[in-house]
Symmetry: C2
Subunit: 678 residues, 2 copies
């Protein structure tokens, strides 16, 4: 098919090698090749001949076109089809675990299969004994059973210790009795639970011999493996429609109640603690910390996903800002490209820079996670608290910024961003729960704050902080120093930026610690000062993102113009934050008003530098048009004809005269309302 | 029906008279009574016996219950029904124009009828000649024709002067030929256009005698009044699905193309300019400024709507924060109410205060609008530029803050806020276009900035600024002065707050003016410094909101405890902004770091003061459960049983085993994918 590239002029302006940047973005040549292969496998799928033979229905292959228009039942049914179809691809193409994960990512539709592979299986792996792994994993890997992770309850979210579901051991039958004692104990939210899962890992209070041993996990079968009907004592269903068109409505987040459901004793996950045949609760010598491993794994993975989601929105907004023109036509010529307006640049380019920043901090976090888990194997728990705090904090920072950033990109597309065909409404709706799940973002920052306060309090005892918190070891200097920036371009020096963020983070933490020390009851103080602590934690996390970007630039990065572009983006990210939070830097006297103005001046100059490269920097994300799912973000920039075409596909346009005309419009026009049936 | 009030304890804590506050919120006793009467008329409607007789279908009366689950066609058809039903109410109950507007507001569903009554009719009134009013208004008032306002085009939004549709006068037939010369000239977005409107006011370039006279309005019939089919030469349809479930998808925003459509010459709206029979373009002596009156009217009305929308979200989040408990259970007792957490308070209470602040500034803006229009009648245009700038700025400030505030309230409800049954996803999706329509919010702030720069530049010439910009007359003092706050409670003084905001706004404007003066080409400077100008404009607008709240408190406000509560809210609003933008106050040296910390300390104390009154302050909005449309925000706080109940109404729960099980799940479980039709 012939096509014109309406963005060709933009692409010619690039001052760097886009193909090389694609590899930097992907993390490695291999990662790029895998993603590129799989994303095209998904995007080009309907053209594969074996699909043509099999598909005779309206919606084919991995198409996302009609998704935002489908009613819930049809939407869900189509997701079931796509999930089976994905699984078939995984088998047919003999995809590796990594490739299979990529495939699900590029299929881009939340489904039960994500809960099964992403949560159910890892939970069994992490919490099951060897015998349990041997029994359950083969069933799960082959999808002979489909499972989900049933933790949260209608009345209980963040506070796992408050769960009400009970698992009472009955020694007479060697069984646990799983029960939902109250309405608020109904399991609520688990993905894949509502309509698909045959099994669940249910978290419940373990009660044996009349004693409550706290929360443990149990494998419970929910549905018949023959007719899929819920088993006796099980009430299960979907919790209802969620935010947005398409979006997470492809997932059967579920509600689940137990009426004295019995399971064999060996379906309690017993790696960390077990119940013996005679009802004794016995803890194993496996460290409890290991239980959190999967939680930490998920959080670090969410950081990479954040950069992915933000990059999609930024790619759409950047391309459309280059296509769209508004005002400024002179002598009847073309209007000005929206991307040339400084107001557009000052909102868009920091997000472009953020996408790259989050990519690199995600890369580093993955390394850190791997490093810590290797230490754990050797019983070295020393870096675990830092990993906990860092994953919590960076998950919070990146997911909040990404959710807000997607909405900002939508607004940067003007009115058309409000159309589902822009892809942005669904991207926002499907992304935003990341701010709440796997730890509410404010609660997570409070965890970071606790880590910071502990670090500060230990400084006087001579304990030397390491890793991401090592800067606190320079506390005396950081509390006193002043920025030595004398002109705008001094802000381009990584050392100037780094010290500014270190000084700010240190001073905010120390100020909180000082305020806390005035309270007799430290916990009361922590509650009272929580909003300030959240701000201090955010300052620490922003420092981490900035410093990891700077560290990345200290590596050898080949490719024409690559490093220069990344340096510009790194400075934009840092100086944008400095400008946004300039009060934090001013309040402690680290910078003067004038130095703040220099930063702003430099930022403007950087926007001008990035401008000719913007479209190509968005191209470097290597998103296919299928994955973007956005007419505004089309690679070829052919926006308006395609918007126009898409409109006619709306169900409302099936007829010129709308359903309901005779009943409700004609009586209005003909003044016959009194006899109309309304 | 018996019901328990789960929030009764909260309501007992109130330190003020809620009924009196309802009147303050409504603006007057009369306004309260009208709103109260109409909102209950809508909310209680299904109980009225005459409805019981007429309604035998699933969805009755003004019910909103299933709205977020309906597929587009059914949703739209139901909106047509509700619109006719609303109109019947308006006739049957002989509602006044004001009451009819209230009814549409409380029916709470965007529909063609809003465009017809809210834009089509006012445009004819504003731009038509007496003869045209006489001909068209009776038809429109009786709904014998239904109209919309067709201005924006596929390629042209903010820049009205860039519209491409042409209206070429043909003197031979005394007609205009309306034509869409390009794809991007397709009319795009007008509400009510897609499926319902029989007529449109079309904005097009008037061409007569080969000369382009710019944009004028024309009344064009689009559809047959008999069978509703589009007339020859007219292509019209819906532009497709928009953001969110339900939300604006009840509106048929439309696309419209003309292929040389002819209309009589007298269908050009000719109040300001006319074309004579022989093709002469003649301007009348009616001032062109009057054309903007309806735009200004709409913008000021949007401010009151902003407070309304924000108050709904705040009401939901406040009530649910009092219902929801999380963590902190001691000795097996109840967990802590989420509203008692300082992190929750520091996010929620500023929004509660904002809702009140926006209410009062909206009230004032309405007065200001009326005052200016009265002056216009007397040919006094002196206050028009200030009205333009103020409505633009306050529209921008309040709609942005409201959209963000609704999302923040949704997040404050935790995971359950993501369910459509919380009411918040739809509220956000339906509200957020207010940031873009009637002037993009950033573009509007740039208009304010132009007004500010003009004011500053005229100061030296001795022109004394008045009204909202009068403070600039004290420029010498405001550029030099320092805050005299010596302790936290000094920030409670209105004079302390006012001077801080005035000094900040003045200094930011002056700084921009100084930077601008360094550019040879002022327009180039304006473009380059646009992001800073936007910030200066926002500072000016925030000052207006703060000062109008303070002025409100200088009035006599009767009722037990009312004034005290409003004083607390006013200080929260102002000090929250001061804390959020503390860099602005610090950078110019108006406050010291210590004074900034005092503000923060005082803010915390104010949160504690407002806490016992929070639920009652939300009650004072007088929202019915029907209008709120939120299970989390139910007046009686009976959240969990109703959430549970609502889940089962989802279409996915129509059967235990989902549609698609046999085709797509069983083959997975039974390892029969190879033979499945996917």
């Amino acid at each position: 098919m012939e096509s014109i590239d309406y963005l060709a002029e933009e692409r010619k302006k690039a001052e760097f090698n886009v193909d090389e940047m694609k590899i930097v973005w992907a993390g490695s040549r291999r990662a790029f090749e895998v993603s590129d292969y799989i994303s095209k496998l998904v995007a080009d799928d309907p053209d594969l001949s074996f699909i043509f033979i099999e598909c005779h229905r309206g919606i084919q292959g991995f198409s996302k076109e009609e998704r935002t228009m489908l009613p819930r039942k049809e939407l869900f049914k189509n997701t079931l089809r796509k999930s089976a179809y994905s699984w078939k691809h995984i088998i047919d193409h003999q995809l590796s675990e990594e490739e299979a994960e990529r495939l699900r990512y590029f299929v881009d539709e939340p489904a039960f299969i994500d809960s099964h592979l992403g949560v159910f299986i890892p939970a069994i792996k992490g919490q099951g004994t060897k015998e349990q792994l041997k029994k359950w994993l083969p069933l799960a890997y082959k999808m002979q059973i489909i499972g989900c992770y049933a933790q949260t309850e209608l009345g209980h979210g963040s506070n796992v210790q408050g769960l009400e579901t009970t698992a009472t051991f009955d020694p007479r039958t060697d069984e646990f009795v799983i029960h939902s004692p109250t309405l608020t104990s109904s399991k609520w939210w688990p993905g894949g639970l509502g309509k698909v899962s045959t099994h669940a890992i249910v978290y419940a209070r373990l009660i044996t011999d009349g004693k409550d041993h706290g929360i443990n996990g149990f494998i419970v079968q929910l549905r018949s493996l023959e007719d899929h009907k819920p088993l006796p004592g099980i009430t299960v269903g979907d919790i209802g429609t969620k935010f947005g068109n398409g979006a997470y409505n492809t997932m059967d987040n579920g509600v689940l109640r137990f009426d004295h459901v019995r399971i064999p004793r060996d379906q309690m996950l017993m790696r960390v603690a077990q119940v013996t045949k005679d009802g004794k609760y016995v803890q194993s010598d496996v460290p409890r910390q290991l239980l959190y491993e999967s939680m930490v794994y998920t959080r670090q993975a969410l950081v990479t996903y954040a950069s992915g989601a933000l990059s999609r929105a930024v790619c759409i907004a950047t391309r459309y800002s280059a296509v769209r023109r508004q005002f400024g036509s002179q002598n009847g010529g073309q209007e000005i490209q929206v991307i040339d307006y400084k107001t557009q640049q000052s909102r868009l380019f920091p997000l472009l820079a953020s996408a790259y920043a989050f990519r690199f901090v995600g890369e580093w976090l993955k390394w850190f996670y791997t490093d810590v888990t290797q230490r754990l194997q050797a019983n070295d728990f020393s870096t675990l608290p830092e990993l906990h705090a860092t994953t919590a904090g960076i998950k919070s920072l990146t997911t909040t910024a990404t959710a807000d950033g997607i909405e900002e990109c939508r607004k940067l597309c003007g009115g058309h961003g409000y159309l589902c065909s822009s892809g942005l409404p669904e991207l926002y709706a499907v992304y935003v729960p990341a701010c709440t799940f796997e730890g509410d973002n404010v609660v997570l920052l409070l965890q970071v704050a606790r880590f910071l306060m502990k670090t500060v309090s230990q400084l006087s005892s001579g304990k030397k902080p390491t890793g991401t918190i090592a800067y606190m070891g320079k506390i005396e200097h950081l509390m006193q120093c002043r920025s030595d920036v004398e002109q705008a371009k001094d802000w381009l020096k990584p050392s100037a930026i780094l010290e500014a963020f270190e000084a700010r983070a240190t001073r905010m933490s120390v100020a909180c610690a000082q305020s806390l020390s005035k309270f007799d009851n430290p916990e009361e103080g922590f509650q009272e000062l929580a909003p300030d602590l959240v701000e201090a934690a955010l300052a620490h996390c922003q420092l981490i993102v900035v410093s990891k970007f700077i560290e990345k630039l200290q590596q050898d990065i080949p490719g024409e113009g690559i490093k220069q572009q990344l340096e510009v983006l790194c400075c934009i990210y840092a100086l944008f934050l400095l400008h946004k939070h300039h009060g934090d830097f001013l309040v402690t006297g680290y910078i003067t008003s004038k130095q703040g103005l220099f930063a702003n001046e430099q930022l403007r100059a950087l926007y001008t530098q990035v401008r000719p490269n913007a479209v190509s920097l968005a191209d470097a994300f290597n998103h296919t048009d299928h994955f973007l799912g956005s007419i505004l973000g089309r690679y070829d920039g052919n926006v308006y004809p395609k918007l126009y075409e898409a409109a006619w596909k709306d169900p409302l346009n099936e007829s010129d005269v709308p359903d309901g005309f005779d009943e409700y419009i004609r009586p209005l026009l003909k003044q016959q309302l009194q006899t109309a049936r309304l």
